[in-house]
Symmetry: none
Subunit: 497 residues, 2 copies
């Protein structure tokens, strides 16, 4: 079970708020260890400074709801912390972290240790990874269904690449990627996404995340460069640009995508998800695409086009990628194989304008030299022999069917409250929440019923986030969809109480 530090009401550490989240890893509610685990983890968070002195803790009732625990458990944990002097209460205003002497224990972060870290990283906590804990109905996003992945073909191609490597003395490779893979990727995106490029435009990356990281390195001058991001939007893009010293400015998204008129004029990098906005799911309209490209051209800004799941496109005529429409060399197209193959592979790529390739290659070399060679050769063969295209085609049908079933089931059981945003692609469906139910509370209620899903608020870059829920449909089984939608309806009712 995870909670976001973001939900804690007081915010003396506001800078860190958007970057990182606190993770509580608790045993099942029924376990007799749940109190001990909660108490210990809160204590450590206070001791090591993640919960700073003066931070207001959530009310016991709110925390209990969020964690799916009984309120008594949370009250008991707070009482223990109170008796030990880690927290204080101010009647009428709430519970706060006390100013405590930090532990002198060798391996807990000490003040000396803290002083040795760059301030950005002192309170950093990794984003929680997906875990399967008590999830009956899995609507989480970001992980593809790999049950139909041709692992046997992958194995065969890998073994062939390994034999080739074994026969030659393996040297260090090119930072931008193995020539065969760059060529294969260029062909692939030319065909599937009409992206105009050749292999010299390709930089192979360790997933989309490293593409963002390389871009942040070469585009951001710390403390100066303004980066516009979508609100709500993908957190890891925001976080990596922020950690590079960018000034992050969130720009709202509506049903046509990012509101170009709200992009600040000093933005020099604009990060967008035009095929399938994350998390809202809407495609960017043609008018907005033109306006965005015009903005970039006029202000010498660049656009980072994150096409994280645009290969899975179901209806209507596809909209051209921004990269395809661009005629001022201002678009960086980011692609990933984490959705079309599997995320553990860590393979992605950038289609970048020529003027940036040398800088990006240098940055990749300083990061980690280059991607593992055998994997690169394997992937090049997998694409070149048509296996990727075939797998995507097959999965497109699977996802399309599941998406249709999900839409129908949600309409059947929650039609009054949940209205899908227009969307024609990808691995998740987002819906607007009508009425007064708090979407974050609905997510908490759903968790109690064994449903893993998400609300837009986790992806907010500023206050006043659109009221929406996100249903990933890559992990859920077809046969579960109707029952899951019924449970969602139940969660909405519980949240309305």
């Amino acid at each position: 079970m995870m909670i976001d530090a973001e939900i804690l009401p007081a915010r003396p550490r506001r800078a860190a708020r958007n970057l990182f989240e606190l993770t509580l890893d608790l045993p099942p509610k029924s376990s007799r260890n749940v109190l001990r685990a909660l108490h210990e983890q809160l204590r450590v968070a206070i001791l090591d400074g993640r919960f700073a002195a003066g931070l207001q803790l959530p009310a016991s009732r709110a925390l209990a709801e969020r964690l799916g625990l009984s309120r008594n458990t949370v009250v008991a944990a707070y009482d223990l912390l109170l008796s030990e002097g880690y927290i204080v209460t101010h009647p009428g205003s709430g519970t706060f972290v006390a100013a405590v002497a930090r532990g002198k224990k060798q391996s807990a972060p000490s003040e000396v240790a803290d002083a040795r870290l760059n301030a950005v990283w002192r309170n950093a906590t990794p984003f929680a990874s997906l875990r399967k804990n008590n999830v009956l109905y899995d609507f989480r996003t970001g992980i593809p269904d790999t049950s139909r992945f041709p692992f046997e073909i992958w194995r065969r191609l890998h073994n062939r690449s390994l034999r080739e490597i074994a026969r030659s003395q393996p040297l260090y490779g090119d930072a931008a990627g193995d020539a065969a893979l760059r060529e294969a990727i260029a062909n692939h995106v030319s065909f599937t996404r009409a992206v105009a490029c050749d292999s010299q435009n390709i930089v192979v990356t360790a997933g989309a995340q490293q593409a963002f990281d390389l871009l942040a390195r070469v585009l951001v001058t710390p403390g100066k460069t303004v980066v516009a991001v979508e609100h709500p939007g993908y957190r890891s893009t925001r976080a990596v640009f922020a950690s590079a010293g960018a000034i992050i400015k969130p720009v709202p998204v509506d049903e046509e995508g990012i509101v170009v008129a709200h992009i600040p004029h000093d933005a020099r990098v604009i990060c967008v998800t035009p095929s399938h906005q994350f998390p809202m799911g809407v495609p960017m309209s043609p008018a907005r695409r033109s306006a965005l490209l015009r903005f970039a051209s006029e202000h010498h800004a660049v656009i980072v086009e994150d096409d994280y799941d645009g290969e899975f496109r179901f209806e209507g005529r596809p909209l051209d990628a921004l990269q395809t429409l661009d005629d001022s060399e201002s678009v960086f197209y980011v692609g990933t194989f984490s959705k079309s193959l599997f995320p553990g592979l860590r393979q992605g790529f950038l289609v970048a304008p020529r003027w940036s390739i040398k800088a990006l290659s240098c940055a990749r070399q300083l990061c980690d030299w280059h991607a593992p060679i055998i994997d690169q050769r394997t992937l090049a063969a997998f694409i070149g022999e048509g296996h990727l295209a075939r797998h995507v085609r097959r999965m497109r049908k699977v996802y399309e069917e599941r998406r249709r079933a999900l839409r129908a089931a949600l309409a059947r059981h929650c039609g009054g409250e949940l209205v899908p945003f227009p969307s024609f692609a990808g691995l998740h469906l987002s819906v607007r929440v009508n009425g007064s139910v708090d979407p974050a509370l609905a997510v908490a209620r759903a968790a109690q019923l064994g449903i893993a899903m998400d609300s837009f608020s986790r992806y907010a870059a500023m206050d006043s986030v659109p009221r929406g829920l996100i249903f990933g449909y890559s992990l859920i089984k077809d046969a579960q969809i109707d029952a899951a939608a019924q449970k969602v309806a139940e969660a909405l009712r519980l949240a309305a109480l």
Copy 2:
């Protein structure tokens, strides 16, 4: 964008099944406009570069089937393109995209483009990778001899890991690394290098380079943090700290290692290679080790201990790692599998103090999330089943024998001019150059004789670099060593003229 017409007949690109993935927006088959639409859309794809010159188009029959058109329509569209010069046919081999003027131009790096890059990266050029060009005698460093690597065992363990992944739904993993690999690495370095750690201290990295990068991220405050580096020293460490905004201060190295008395008092990070100084090859003396640790403890500085080839240790009692001697949690030990396995694998690790693990995990997550999971599992098994230790033991004998032969041959042929620095480990031997010969000129003369070797001057961080040459002995054949040393003597004579 440059199109090289010459490659057309010689190297047609693989007939891409992916072509079928091109999105064509065609009217119904019965429409009289279908030919026009097909022709126009193919023409545009060629013009805007999605279909690159040299690309093989599918056979007309196959394309017709795929599109649900009559074959005549496709043949007619191809004929039009042929007559307009957009495609060419090579009888017997197929139909290919011709080299045509593209509609979309790409500029060379311009001032506008430059202005969009952070100043650090505007003139960046990647370090050259090793290439085999007219090298008869290969004394280059950094690449291990993989001729005895047990690729067959690696293949078997990889396939087992792949089967495990295929059976489970692969999720995203922990940024610090897979638990089994962290455990295996902790055991391995505890045993081989007496490094004091458990799996919680391990962060898996993409080679040593990513370890330096992660450290630069979390330790450096741009424009403020002073980083001391060895002079002469490893360039990529220096470069990655510099790119993170560190103030680099070079500190000279003598025959006992870094001269601690010359480390500036404001240094907060000190990068050293104590087992086998790069490039001089000397081990850091026990007195210097104590002094360095005292410096770090007194100034709240941290030490980055790069143990890039310390597993290959040949004589005498090994000196303790700085990490082993440290009692103020100030040492980061960087290890790599690029020398003990092979560099194309891109696997390495950090042994880091507890206080830094969370920050490093976050940094890794923002960089690229985590290392590829199958590779991590494969490596964990490779270490856990004893194959790494066995391979290192075997290679230690090979390298020791080669090193002995090299020392003897250099003494025989160049004894007056080249005097080895004291050194007991690693994959290269460094020598002091007596007399007046310019080492860099000797390297140039040697290249003319087919010898690849290196001088210290490439690794200088300031002027006045010690006069030395570096002989890697991982790539050269045993049988070549005597002849190579004779050639080196000849190069020295030529350089003295």
